[in-house]
Symmetry: C4
């Protein structure tokens, strides 16, 4: 289906800027202890006003010490390579599926962060018992289906779980979290906060049951945070 | 109620010194793993002998990599901006409320540190079972009410819980800890030690019940520490 | 049995390259928090086409700050010293036994990483409930026997447990993990991922029972990962 | 009882060397996450062949960023100051008591490391279920009595618990660990390993009961490690 064989000249600057951003954002994953070794990946969509969009992602199996803008690879939204010296991340098909089916998504992140993965291994959603969760996720962080790597089933599971949900994070069963955002940075933020709330709620439940937050308060917190927080 | 439209010349040096201190102290929050991403904030009161006090605080949603003295913002004690290029932290109203109602407080810190937040999510105070807790907090670390962000209810909850208490820390329910001090540095110290004791007591209780410390020993430890510890 | 009294001239370049690699890989152990103080060690086999193989390993009781290529020592596959100013690691006999009895192994790593050691102290294998485990270990991470340091019993326990297993990691009872690989780098990767899955599965089980992964899916994941992942 | 009013000329070089070592070893406490803020301290005995020994220790309440050899203070073995611009650590009396009553001890360390403190808060010894514990501590890590800071009761509790014990570490009830060694470095090593085994055994017990190690094996491991490990 994809017809581009190289990055169009009109997208050159946008692709290069995305490579810079995506490379820099990868450093946030070990910084906040979301990944070990070469695990985890960040991608960003490059919008093409004149044709099909592209995505920028980390190559497969590359050390976090070797991640530079030039090392990033560019792929079609079917996951095949357009530009780069190395194979794209083995999770590229899942990222690409999300971009194809959720046009509002501009960034995707995948990690195996410990506490989020622990909830995922039990197939249990994270209940919304922290104001930070209401702010960022607008409710519980949901669980997606078990899916085998290598075809569309991971991407489909992400999209089916997150479409129509307030949550920017899904815990793929027995696997780990995927997060989405309007750009790569907001997807990385969601990955960081997903692990943070996964850990704090886990720790809280170790010694008893956390107190629920009334739905009206969850709604009010979510509304405010989406509209007020940060710089405009 | 606030009439100043800029920092008075007589406070210039004090405000600039506070910006230096507050910016530098923010680095302690990620250093001791009390915050992720842009969460958490430190403020300090600037006393104005000739009129209303001011406060210096971090802007909203700014990365810990971008925190410099110049990036700090100055606010009235009603939370409105006096000086700075960016919006103040979304928690400024809570800090300001504390300064208005507790004149002895010179610094306020807010984090979502994991273990303190876990106790807060259960609405459970941290029992005083460590000599370090008796030293710094003089007893248990208390829980404050559930409060919605955006009006005075967080500030009110902090003040009602800490006024008349030995504790410099309050665990706001389903939210996280706020700490106070005579200046920003001592409030940051309290935030660091609050998480430390939250974690150690949590870990201890995972395998049994920690032994209580007799009230007379708590009192003796608190007296000594407040009067003897550190350099004079 | 060993007749070499020094590194043969024909192996000089290969030994020096192995010293560089082994020294650099030691930095990964504290980086991923697998070791404290001087604990832990990495070794690599140097193949000798004209005679007996050698191994390169860290000296005993040396700080991670002092690990340089020149500080590494070279030993016979019976564990005795060929080259180096210091005594080889006290675990050298175990590494050497593995190289003697598993010719396909090119690298060995030993750590006392916390979560893997915790499973080892209970003598309990780590069940395969994460796709990352299926990828890297092809099933559960098995437990080896209790063995005293100082003779062949640790090496024998490793070999008896891992020979014929898909797993690159064994949890030696009451002791800690040993991992193997085709070279030192892949054995270090296995050590990093062993701790990662030990921690995530531990955390998951703290609040319930993780969901099993069907054997056919474990097999499919393992096959794909061994053949597809990374750069070729 | 102490008559020296300054460091004798004959001890100058030895005192300065001890200041260097003690300052550098303090960096190991935050490095291995044994302390937060200004908590924790390391001391070393300076032997005086011609009279009373001295000790070098960290001043009270000083940031780990400000620890230099010159900032270290020198005290009599009754805890009073001989040389230095600041007050000695508030734990100096406990260190001094140990040096007075255990002439074989050359270094003392005190931390509030999380897991060791958690066992201490329950007043429970750490059972010897890891080969690393048998190596370093020769058996369980024992608990000392509850003691108030500020007189000899902490020092007495340490000495009564460790005299005649193989263990270099004692968990002071509701307080935290103290460790001893032939010099400051070996006491720091014991502090690092004490937290390591406190954590691993804690984690192991969270999901069941660790397997005991037979006493004869504990004895054999301890003998070997004390006599064989490291460089000679």
């Amino acid at each position: 289906m994809s017809t581009l064989t190289e990055v169009p000249a009109a997208l050159r600057a946008a692709v290069d800027a995305a490579k810079e951003r995506v490379a820099a954002l990868h450093a946030e994953l070990p910084r906040w202890e979301l990944v070990v070794w070469t695990a985890g990946n960040v991608s960003e969509r490059v919008v093409n006003p004149d044709g099909e969009d592209l995505l920028v992602i980390k190559p497969s199996g590359v050390s976090y010490d070797d991640i530079t803008p030039d090392a990033m690879v560019v792929c079609h939204l079917d996951g095949t390579l357009v530009e780069g010296d190395r194979s794209p991340s083995s999770d590229t098909a899942a990222h690409a599926y999300v971009y194809r089916h959720m046009p509002e998504v501009g960034g995707v992140v995948h990690t195996h962060s410990t506490y989020a993965t622990a909830w995922a291994a039990r197939g249990e959603e994270i209940p919304c018992v922290l104001t930070m969760m209401a702010d960022e996720f607008g409710g519980p962080v949901p669980v997606g289906p078990f899916a085998i790597i290598g075809d569309d089933s991971i991407g489909r599971g992400i999209v089916e779980t997150l479409r129509g949900s307030r949550s920017k994070a899904v815990l793929m069963r027995n696997h780990g979290p995927f997060t989405i955002g309007t750009d790569a940075r907001s997807a990385v933020k969601a990955a960081v906060l997903c692990e943070e709330v996964a850990r704090a709620v886990h720790v809280s439940r170790q010694l008893g049951e956390p107190l629920p937050i009334a739905q009206e308060h969850v709604d009010a917190l979510y509304e405010r945070y989406q509209n007020v927080y940060g710089q405009r």
